[in-house]
Assembly symmetry: C2
DNA sequence: GCGAATTTTTAGGCGTGCCTAAAAATTCAA
DNA sequence: TTGAATTTTTAGGCACGCCTAAAAATTCGC
């Protein structure tokens, strides 16, 4: 029977996908930037009222997943961190699978993964992981946590913080803005592309030179404008 | 952004997977047997209290998916039928995909499909359908409704209602009991296997002869006992 | 250091899906 | 046909995740 009894039915619907999304979002804030994760910050990123965050914080704290003290920032417990990485592993493996096997383009996968990350079984996740050959990066260059919870987090520099003249390889691009991904792909920018910063302007954005594959690092590649918001979605390898 | 705003978040969690399961279950009752689908019958199959069925019946009726009048059996409206078939299409394509591509055995797929049928997008469903070459039967022999909603429902006879001496090809086997599927597979019984009824006993069950692939219809295949409950999970092609 | 602005929490509600217990309707059977 | 048994509906609750509005705490700026 698919729905064994009343208890399962009450418990199972989506397990606790809301909780998983909170954990994931808290984790992300510490993964990409390191600023304290306050309820207002969380509320803004999750599109939820601050009071909803307070409520969930209490529940997650009671479950031993989040450290919560009134009026202080939220942090993940070791167990909360492990759970968050588990969800992120699912998310990124699903994205990789959609691109590598199901004919999706890299700007189309995030929303689908956002849902499936909560419903796929461990069994199916393993099958996908195996089929893909245990990838360590998703289509956007984000590291895929290993099954044991370890993450290989290579140091990187946000393009928005790179000085003119800096050059480096694109290592990660945020997958949250599909239209940015679409335009970057059109400009030939994706993980492993080599870029150099030609000009920067806090308001207007950046201009970067894209190194051609055939002629890496030379000054011959096309010049591409990157908006201010785009420049804080692109990580390049830290200069050697 | 994956979770665009509060409205989406309130609306989206699983869309209406509960409603979908009710529609699907009502449809199934008319697909396999034809007895009136009363609230108590629905409640029993869904593992839910009868009062829960009444409540949902009202909602589905208000949504134009179910015909509901107090104290009468439930039926699907044309739109409800279409929705039910859509869910069943998802379910069966997912099962087929799990078996054909993801290394699952046929007794392992039902529960996974029961969850994923509510979370996969149309886009992904199409991708799966295309990859599989638009299959028309799932691993248990159940017909997969086409994208346009049409279903090819071949006439079949429940093994439990077959007279001694009857022989026919297995066309469908209920996927609800994994252990039955496991033992049938061990005995070489699956869709397209040819069986003949050697003996039947309402209490003790049936004995069937399994025709060998090499020597179809001959009286040389192994004899296999089938429990009474098993015999009402197996459909064979109606005698010509 | 202190009042004002901001952030966070509390209080009270709402819709969904489920429950149990009680009331009402239907069906069965003598 | 009529009372008993069964089925169905109604009534009242509960947990979850979210909300708005009001209260409380913290932080900021002068
Ligand atoms: Mn999610
Ligand atoms: Mn990604
Ligand atoms: Mn199934
Ligand atoms: Mn389901």
């Amino acid at each position: 029977m698919s729905i064994p009894d009343q208890v399962a039915r009450r418990t199972q619907p989506n397990a606790d996908s809301a909780a998983e999304d909170y954990l994931k979002t808290i984790y992300h804030h510490t993964e990409w930037q390191s600023a304290p994760v306050t309820p207002s910050v969380l509320a803004a990123t999750m599109g939820v009222a601050p009071s909803s965050v307070t409520e969930m914080a209490k529940k997650l704290s009671a479950a031993g997943l989040v450290n919560y003290e009134p009026y202080k920032p939220l942090t993940l417990t070791p167990e909360g961190t492990a759970r968050a990485r588990g969800v992120i592993r699912r998310h990124r493996l699903i994205e990789t699978w959609l691109v590598d096997e199901m004919g999706y383009d890299w700007h189309e996968v995030h929303d689908e993964a956002e849902v499936l990350e909560h419903s796929i079984s461990d069994r199916l996740l393993d099958a996908i992981d195996t089929r893909l050959g245990h990838p360590t990066r998703d289509p956007h260059g984000d590291p895929i946590p290993a099954a044991d919870g370890s993450v290989e987090n290579s140091p990187a520099l946000l393009l928005s913080q790179a000085a003119v003249g800096t050059s480096g390889m694109v290592v990660r691009i945020s997958d949250r803005d599909p239209s940015l991904l679409l335009s970057l792909a059109a400009a030939g920018i994706r993980p492993s592309t080599t870029l150099s910063v030609v000009s920067r302007d806090a308001g207007a954005g950046f201009i970067v030179r894209v190194a051609l594959a055939s002629d890496a690092d030379a000054d011959t590649g096309p010049l591409v404008p990157v908006s201010a918001s785009g420049s804080s979605s692109i990580w390049i390898s830290a200069p050697a």
